[in-house]
Structure formats: C-alpha cells, structure tokens
Amino acid sequence: MTGYVTIDESLCKGCALCVTVCPKGLLQLARRFTSKGYQLVELIDPASACTGCAICATLCPEAALRVYRTVKKSLSLRSGQESLSLRSGQGDLR
C-alpha cells in the first residue's frame, strides 16, 4: 500500500471532478449525502492501488482531500528530513 486519500465531508460538494481524474478510477460518488445535500465522494480501493499521486487533490475545488503516501527514505540519510519535505501544501503536488 503506497497511497491513501480522505475526503472532508464538511467540504465535499460531490462535483466528481476527482472521480473523473483519478488515474486508477479509485474514487466514486457514494450513496451518502452531506448535511447540505451533496453526494459524497469516497475512496474504493480494495486492491490498495492508490499511489498517493494527489491528482485528485490538484483538481478538488474545495481542497477537501488529504493525500497520504508511503515515502521511501533516501539513501543519503538526512535523518527525518525527507518525509517532512513533502508535507502539507508546502511542496508541489507531485
């Protein structure tokens, strides 16, 4: 398993742009609705195919997605730095 996304239910409006762009088709409109009546999006990833590419988050107009990824430690052993460099919004979405 290398990637995972969560969707903030207070922000998602079910526009489904993330659904259309996920390269692996792992996002779907759920059968659940938010309190505002929007149909939620959910990650359906039984085979753990998500790579945490964050393309969904790039498209999301509500910034409702959080993206997680398993990050390999670099061989140059700069202790603890490499996982921090991709933190929350401070790097390009790769």
Binding site: M1, T2, G3, Y4, T6, D8, S10, L11, K13, G14, C15, A16, L17, T20, V21, K36, Y38, D45, S48, G52, A54, I55, A57, T58, L59, C60, P61, E62, A63, A64, L65, R66, V67, Y68, R69, T70, V71, S83, L86, R87, S88, G89, Q90, G91, D92, L93
Partner: protein, 256 residues
C-alpha cells in the same frame, strides 16, 4: 482502510493550505474558483507571506473571497479593486496586495482601473478569473463571452455585429509598459493547474521585487451558467476557450 494511514507508515503529503480558512465555500460544485483560491492560498503559504498579505475582493461570485482567505481583506466596489489596491499598497508598501477579479468585474466596469493600475506600474498582483460569463448575476454576456456563446443576454448566441467581440485582456495589458508580468493559464486539467500555480507564485514574486503589475489570467469554468456538468465545463475550456484565448506569457519582467 482498517488502520489510519499515518499508523500504516504513510506520510501526509497534501492537505488544505493554512491560508484557506476552514469554511465551506458558497461556490457551485465543480466551480474553478475553488481551485484558483486554493492555488493562491498554497502560494501564500509557500512564500510564508500570510501575515503581510492584503487581498481585495471584487463584486462577482467571489465577492465573499474574504471568507476563505486567512489574511487581511477589503471588499471593493464592482471593477474598482485595482484602484482600491493602489490605495492600500501605496500606504503599505511592504505588504503584498492582491486583487482577485472575475471577467465581469475586471474587463467590463473595471477596464479603466486595471489599465491604469498597469500603466502606473503599481506593484500589485491581479488574479483574473475568466469564465466568459457573468456568474453571480445569473449568466449574462461578459466582455469575454465567445462569439455565438449563449448567455441570458445573448440568448441567440453572441452576435459579433451587434454585441461586439471578445476582449483579450492579457494581450491588451501586455502592451502597457508598467505591466511587468502578464500571463494566461488555464484550470481545465491537472497539468495546466500546476502551471497556473507556478505563474501565480511568480506573480507574487514579481510584486515582492517591485517590478510592476503582475496579472495571471486563469481560464475558468462556470458549470451552472454554461449549463454543463463540471467535467464537461472543463472540456469546454479546452475545446472552445483555448482557441480564442491562447495560453502563454504575454509580458515577462525585464530585470534591472
């Protein structure tokens, strides 16, 4: 998944930028305003300038932009944001002042203000959201509406002979000496969104270096008033808007 991603050894690699407030927006589902706001907020975060940024909100769908940005904000009259921003910046030269304007605001009632802010070389950053329509007021024709495009005030499609031609704002402003950075980008797909973010960052850096007016025109969608799904609206940008509003760099800074 059964256990939390962090516990599974994953790293959080993307979350909402700090400069965006935790407030759900009033924008329609799939509206690219949300993407534009997010990109601006990400840039402000990355540059570390949240505490020295002042935004000016327009009249238009983004009239409430100030609800979504965690920095000082002023609300301008329709079209007047560049003038208001001029006042704000001239007396706060160390702050970063940006306007966020739609096409009805900037390219119609606000034409004099944007041209003259550029002419004066005001050190401002303008985020120009061009969706070829008046969104907030219900979908009327805008100066950037395409030939033949149906809107509520061009119900048979924009007739060039009686309703004029679309205005190419980036091209127009690039003629002005005081404009330092004038580029057109698009928000219709991932690659273009990433390029748009880079341009927004450069625009703020141009202001930091006091080089003159920076403007990033963002081709954007209006699914509701275009009567399309969000996905179809993004495709419409690519298929219909790009030929009329080509992407590119129309003015780049000349550094001393």
């Amino acid at each position: 998944m059964m256990i939390a991603p962090i516990e599974a050894g994953m790293t959080l690699v993307y979350q909402r930028p700090d400069t965006l407030t935790p407030v759900p927006t009033h924008y329609c589902p799939g509206c690219t305003h949300g993407i534009a706001h997010r990109l601006v907020a990400e840039v402000i975060d990355e540059l570390g300038v949240r505490e020295q940024t002042i935004g000016v909100a327009p009249v238009g769908c983004s009239v409430f932009a100030y609800r979504y940005f965690n920095c000082d904000f002023a609300q301008a009259a329709h079209g007047r944001a560049p003038a208001m921003a001029t006042g704000l910046k001239r007396v706060n030269p160390d702050q970063l002042v940006f306007t966020y304007q739609g096409d009805g605001d900037l390219a119609s009632i606000g034409m004099a203000e944007i041209i003259h802010a550029a002419a004066r070389g005001e050190n401002l950053t303008v985020i120009f959201v061009n969706n070829a329509i008046y969104g907030m007021t219900g979908g009327q024709m805008a100066p950037t509406t395409l030939a033949g495009q149906r809107t509520t005030s061009s119900p048979s499609g924009r007739d060039l002979t009686t309703q004029g031609y679309p205005l190419k704002i980036s091209e127009l402003l690039s003629q002005i000496d005081g404009a330092a950075y004038v580029v057109r980008r698009s928000l219709h797909d991932v690659a273009n969104i990433k390029r748009a973010k880079k341009a927004i960052r450069i625009a703020f850096e141009v202001q930091q270096r006091g080089l003159g007016l920076s403007l990033v025109e963002l081709l954007s969608s209006c699914p509701t008033n275009w009567r399309m799904t969000p996905e179809a609206a993004l495709a419409w940008i690519k298929d219909e808007m790009l030929p009329v509003y080509p992407l590119g760099d129309f003015k780049l800074p000349m550094e001393a």
